[in-house]
Each structure stands twice: as C-alpha cells, then as structure tokens.
Amino acid sequence: MEETKVLTQRIRPDRSPVFIDDYMAEGGYEALKTALSDFGPTEVGPLIKEAGLRGRGGAGFPTGVKWSFMPRFEERPDERPAHVYLVVNADEMEPGTFKDRMIMEGDPHQLIEGMIIAAYAIGADIAYVFIRGEYVECQRRLQRAIDEAHEKGFLGKDILGSGFNLQLYLHMSAGRYICGEESALLSALEGRRAVPRHKPPFPAASGLFGQPTTVNNVETICNVPHIVKNGAEWYKGLGLNKDGGTKLFGASGHVAKPGLAEFPLGVKLGDVLEHFGGIRHGRQLKGLLPGGGSTPFLTPEHLDTPMDYDGVGAAGSRLGTATMIVFDDQTPIVGVLKNLEHFYAQESCGWCTPCRDGLPWVEKMLIGLEEGRGQPGDIELLDLHVKLLGPGKTFCAHAPGAMGPLEAGLKYYREELAALIPDDAKTLSLTESANANPL
C-alpha cells in the first residue's frame, strides 16, 4: 500500500534534518505568510475545526474546538492577561510510541511553523515545547530551527510586519510518564512535581501560571500548516471516512519490518500490518495494542477495522497514538500484561490511592500468575481492579489507561490466564500471601 505523505513529505530516507533553506525551498513558511496576511487571528481556529483535525496525542479531542475554548481579548485589550500560552506536548513516553521523535528530528521547522500559526490562532504570546529529557537530538535540531526562524523574522516581535509577537522556548523534561497528562505537564513546566490538576478549570481558563493555555501534541500541530495552505476540504478529503487527514502509523514488536509510515485515517488494520511485513518468523498474530500501551488489545478478528477514531472505538479500543505494538502466537499474555502494568505502577504519580496502591497490586498478581503462584480468585480480583481503577474512580486518566489492556486481556485471553493458576492452589491469608509474593 502506498503511503500518503503530508507530514512526512520532507522527511529524508536517512532521517537527516531539513533545515531552513531546504524547508523554505519546499514551500515552508508559506502557510505562516498566508495565515498572517489572509486570516484574522480568530479565523484560523474555525478553519482547523472545519477540517476535522483531532488530537494526535492519544485522546483525539477536536483541535479547533479546543482552541475555541480560549478566551479572546481582541474586543477588550485592557483585560488581556500578562501572557497567553501555547504548550506543545513533546513528552513522547507512551510505550511503543516513536512518531513525534521522527518528525521533530527530521523536519523541525514543520513543528515551529505550526506552532507560530497555532499561537496566532489562540492569541498566545509565549510558546513552549515540553520535550522529554532523553530526546537530546530533537532538542538540538529544534533549537537550531528556532534560531533560524528568529533570523528570518518568523519569531520574535512584529512577525512579518503583522504586529503579532511570539517567543518560543524549549523545555527539557526531567522524566516521568505522567508529564504527558496535560495538567501534570503544566505542573512540571511550573517547576513542581508533575501531579495532575483538577478539571475544571481547564487549561484554557487557567493553565500555565494560571493564564489561558492550550496544550497540543506535536503531530497535531504539524498538521496545521498543511491545512492553512491547502484548505479544510482538501484535508477532509484525505481521510477515508469521517475523520480528516493522514496519521503517522508505527509498528513494533513481532512485525517483520518495524517502522513508521503515513496513511489516510480509516486505512484497514490488516493493510497497515501488511505494510510492516506482517508477523515475523512465519508466525501468526495473537494480538496487538493499536496505539500505545494504554489502548486495549485488538485480535486477528479485528483486521478489517478502519484505523480512525470511531472505527477503533467501535472495535473496543482506541486509536491512541496509532503506533501499534504487535505480538505473535508464541507470546504468553501474562508477560505482556505484567510488563505493561509494571510500567503504569512505576509511573503513577502517587497522588490518588486507587492508582498508587491498586496498580502495584495488579502487577503483583500478574507476577504471581506468571511464576505459578496464582491463587483461586485472582482472575476475579483482577476484574475488580478493572472496575475500581476505571474511569471516574481516579484523579486522572493514568489508571484507567492502565486498565484498558488489562480489561481486554481478561476478555480475550481469560482461559489462558485462568489456566496459570495451579490446580492444587489454595487461597492464602493476606499475611501468607504477602510473604509468598513480595514485590
């Protein structure tokens, strides 16, 4: 299947970066000029909404709608707060996700141009890229791109004579997955522990330093210049179903040719798998996580699923980041689940009890099952955790995200998990159990 290259059109096969001269020679910053000259500040948002762009970081919230929550001060400049912020979430830490790294390393100006247009659209005067600490190469290339954009007058004061001002900074994170949660990210950016905040108020009302703030994912923002340049109708037409545009897809794990590719939203799951060479070593597909570690499993019966937000939702999972993690029929499911739940238990920020205490318990039960120390009732206890750590029971989406694959695992691979409990196993008392199964 041929790729549809929009976000990756300038990415070179060897992934060497495209800097300012090449970027501009290939049409770069034309969209910024168009936005500043042909669109009023309040006119870009409706275009993005019309195009149907949805958040590419995992949640899939419509980007134009998110932007429309930002307060406007054009009619009441006296009330304008000290600053309005755009924050780009480049804290790519979802297990199995490696898409933002490629577009930041390969085409850093695409992100910068998208950010300038997005900041113009929401009325922001300061923008940050919140980037994970390990992505040192992304940081170097983005910093060079920022410096180049300054030299050309695309950043700073009175950009291209439009009167629009924007400062853009990089913030390198010091680690922790929870920073990817947008309100926790804002806590981190303020120099605090990355603990999520209560919503409401949402960031648009009270975000970074209490000021109006929009947080968007890297890939989401990279779509913006293309929509401004080519229009909403063109963008909608790229997708095969209801959702507009293309998506970066990835595959890792037991595929023959792991990597990244760009396809229209709505492409069939089976076709994406085939693009990545199918299952390696001549084995069969057992299951996959369609879009990162917190998306519930899909199985061979789902190969006709259209890979868009509604399609994957109807199959009982989420499109997530669309970087799929694939495992073959020789893979014990208990190990997959144990690895995933270890990650979530470790990365809980510790703020709320169900997440802080529940996730390690889940991990402990899975280790027990894997090591032949399962007890009667373990499967039911895992079921109970799916409920108690599910949506609405915790402060943020971390624990519910962790329960996604567990719930699907208990549904699709229940017999395999139950068979791990030895026939002669007894239910131990809590003390005996703790001694037998220390973590």
Binding site: M93, P95, G191, R193, G253, V336
Partner: protein, 155 residues
C-alpha cells in the same frame, strides 16, 4: 557550599525564560547535575537559594523526576528500555547480559566508576528494540554481542 559562577549564570538564564522564576527549579537541578554528574544535598540547597525556593521544595521535585540523580553515577549512564516493544524483542536477554557482564544490578555502578545501569521507560526507539541509551547516544537491535561491542566505545 556555593555553586560555581557558571552554574549560577545558567540557572539565572533559565529563570528568565518563565513568568515565575520558581519554574526553573527543575532546570536548576539539571544545571547542577550537568556540572557535577549528580545532585548532592549541599548542591541542592545551594541551587534552591539561587532559584529562591526552599530546599524542601527543591527536594520534593528532585525526588520526583527520574532523570535527576541523587546519588553519584558512573561516567556513562546506561539506560535500558524495559517497556513493551523492547520486552517483546529481547529486553530480558539484554538485561541479563548487561547485569552479568558489568557485575552490577539496576541502580548499581561498576567499581571503576565507568558505568551505572538503570532501567528506563520507553525510549521511543521501538522499531529497533531492544534499545538502550548510553550517555546521550541511542543504540538499538541489541544482542549480547552488540552490547559488548558498544560498551568498548565508552572508556
């Protein structure tokens, strides 16, 4: 103790990039770590003074973020990805080989001070798993033989 002039200037630069200079708390820890390899209690207190937060506030932050080291580390920090894609492609073999060839467990530092071994969340190198980071360099498709060859590059 006092921080060096270079550290103080780097921290002050970071403070100027935010509406509230306390936001540079994390950056200050990173600056200290860059200069000293890790963040001691004394250096942390000195950094807190520069930023204008209490040592307790700074410690709360320092103990939250996994890329801030509160103990001395070796010259090269090895971070082995233990997330799902690498788990599926041979993480356990890479882990066992690293532990046995270096003679240390996770969190340990070799006696010659050359390497510290740590597990790390998904490095975003999933199409080349199993993957690790040594210092700032990424390495993928790890096998015991490749690991041996890679480690000889770090003196």
């Amino acid at each position: 103790m006092e921080l060096s002039q270079g550290e103080i200037e780097a921290i002050q630069h970071e403070m100027s990039l935010y509406e509230d200079s306390g936001a540079a708390t994390i950056e200050a820890l990173k600056v200290v770590q860059e200069h000293r390899g890790w963040v001691s209690d004394e250096a942390m207190a000195a950094a807190a003074k520069v930023v204008g937060v209490t040592p307790t506030q700074m410690e709360a932050v320092a103990t939250f973020y996994n890329l801030i080291f509160r103990q001395p580390v070796g010259r090269h920090v090895i971070m082995l990805c233990d997330s799902i894609s690498c788990y599926l492609t041979g993480y356990e073999e890479a882990r066992d080989h690293l532990k046995s060839s270096l003679g240390i467990d996770f969190g340990g530092t070799t006696e010659d001070g050359r390497f510290t071994l740590l597990p790390i969340c998904c490095l975003g190198n999933c199409d080349r798993g199993p993957a690790m980071r040594v210092g700032e360099d990424y390495h993928g498709d790890l096998t015991p033989e490749r690991i041996d060859a890679i480690l000889t590059e770090y003196k």
